[in-house]
Symmetry: C2
Amino acid sequence: MELSLVRETSPAIKLADAARDINETLDGFFVEYAHEAAALHPAYQQLWRKVHDLSKSGGKRLRPYLTLLTYQAYGSEDVHDILPVAAAQELLHFAMLIHDDIIDRDTIRYGTENVIGQYEHIYAPSLEAPDERRHFANSAALMAGDVCLAGAFELSSRASIDTAQHMMVRHSLWRTIFTVVGGELLDTEAAFRTEQGMVADAMTVNRNKTADYTCVRPLVLGAQLAGAPDADIEILKEIGQHLGIAFQLVDDNIGIYGDSDVTGKPVGADIREGKRTFLVERAYELADDTQRARLHELHGKKDLTHSENSEFCDIINATGALKDAQMRIAEHRKIADGLVDSLTITDGFKEAYHEIIQFTIERKA
Amino acid sequence: MELSLVRETSPAIKLADAARDINETLDGFFVEYAHEAAALHPAYQQLWRKVHDLSKSGGKRLRPYLTLLTYQAYGSEDVHDILPVAAAQELLHFAMLIHDDIIDRDTIRYGTENVIGQYEHIYAPSLEAPDERRHFANSAALMAGDVCLAGAFELSSRASIDTAQHMMVRHSLWRTIFTVVGGELLDTEAAFRTEQGMVADAMTVNRNKTADYTCVRPLVLGAQLAGAPDADIEILKEIGQHLGIAFQLVDDNIGIYGDSDVTGKPVGADIREGKRTFLVERAYELADDTQRARLHELHGKKDLTHSENSEFCDIINATGALKDAQMRIAEHRKIADGLVDSLTITDGFKEAYHEIIQFTIERKA
């Protein structure tokens, strides 16, 4: 009874509040190291400032939120103790996005120019040839991603947790990177590789590139830091798998059908790059011969027009693949919601999980 | 007297023995994660195996050696306790080389094809266009570097040291990465950037890209782990600065005048990429107008011929820049050797430092 009273005085943290705290933590880190970089050289300070600016231009802060919420749900009062750990997951995510944009040859992220796009301008006075400009802008982004990736380890070290927990966090960050890089490699190669046995299906990509890193690890990390029961940690892993797969299926839909004003990504980018998402994979399976031939012509077409983009969307819809994906999203959501109800946490926190599941599934960007 | 007897029973570790121990530690790490990667997908295992193979094809293991030697010099008997920390520095170095090759557009390292070169073959059956093949081979190398970079944090966690030391090592790895990436950015930009105040001189690059990461950090880390006196740590920092600068000046000479059969790097690569080393910077300063104009024509020339390469070398020599560089190397060596003699360690260990300084300066690759 007393426990439940204590918990009522500390209601579940809201996404907006968590995002504000995470942003402050990230800001502090970027300001500190932009300052350190200035002591090294103004050109290095410029890189840190650009990265800092871009970190403010978007991002839902879903990963750190899942960690903070779970930490609270298992009885830990002060989320500020672990803010650096939660923020480190966002910094790691940011590093991955910076490197992902190099691989995907994107210059736009969060509706604005990414590191590559910004550095193409910075280098324009020195480099006339567009290819050279792009190469060195990619190089700057490569280095920016490297410091953010390593920075995640450093940032997490500022948490007010004991040394055993620090060791656990370091290992968790490593496992996250090991898995997400594997998923990223499979995703990248799926767009072009053809040899038997060397191409992963979209669900293997989704599990490793998205579910583990976006949901499973953040949930489990919050639970471990709070000392949650093992049985609950196992359930949280399952929730993370289902929510994470649903997250990626929603992302695939947004990638094809999303409003570029809302998503901040160029129209048709995923189609142009030939991304083999589950949605596209299903469309190929369900298509008739004419549809399949046309999908094949348009998928990966570098100079895809707006009308070809619409045609591609219409075919995916006509094959029934979109409906199939939406059904699967609903199924994963239902399972995740059901599992939340079996956790040994208060109703207030169950409600908070249901809300974030809803937010994840119903988002438009 | 007793202390000195104990030390005589444990003579200073030799570079070859350290290299063997470091290689075993790295092998264990790569085998373990190639196995883990296989559970994810064969295509991910392939990446880990390629990286593992390349890790065996070269490298002097100078950085981990400096850590192990210093750890021993300050009275710590069993270097095996900190092998994972020493090996982590080599893994971090390997990550930086993989990313550096993307930036420098090199496909050869240690006289063999690097990750990029290997993946151009792997992707050849799927990708006909050379540009596409190179782009995705670069992407594979980008991801390989990411797992090695993060892997350095994980590998170091296996050392038999106390938790406070683990926290110190994590922070040291971060500072190493922060500094070396800054140096790498300045080095890269020096080849083409022109705006006032945004171009670093070669010595600023050398301090940050090489001296800190190759010598200062490895020496200080070994000393801190062994609990060396603060006064000695300050001297070791100075030794690291002088040895590290000398290391880079030797590297610049090898980059221009080295025998490509010995260095394992293509002839003229540094000239083609327009690297602004101290040697080249000095040559521009000392050159007469005719020499300067010709240096300018050849420096950064993508299709540099063998005879143009020889001509470039001859001009550098004729300006007196090579002689100047060699004089500076000799000065830094002399200072480093002198500082070694002021350390509070046994004569046997002083001798070992003199030997590794000699090796660093007189190497041909």
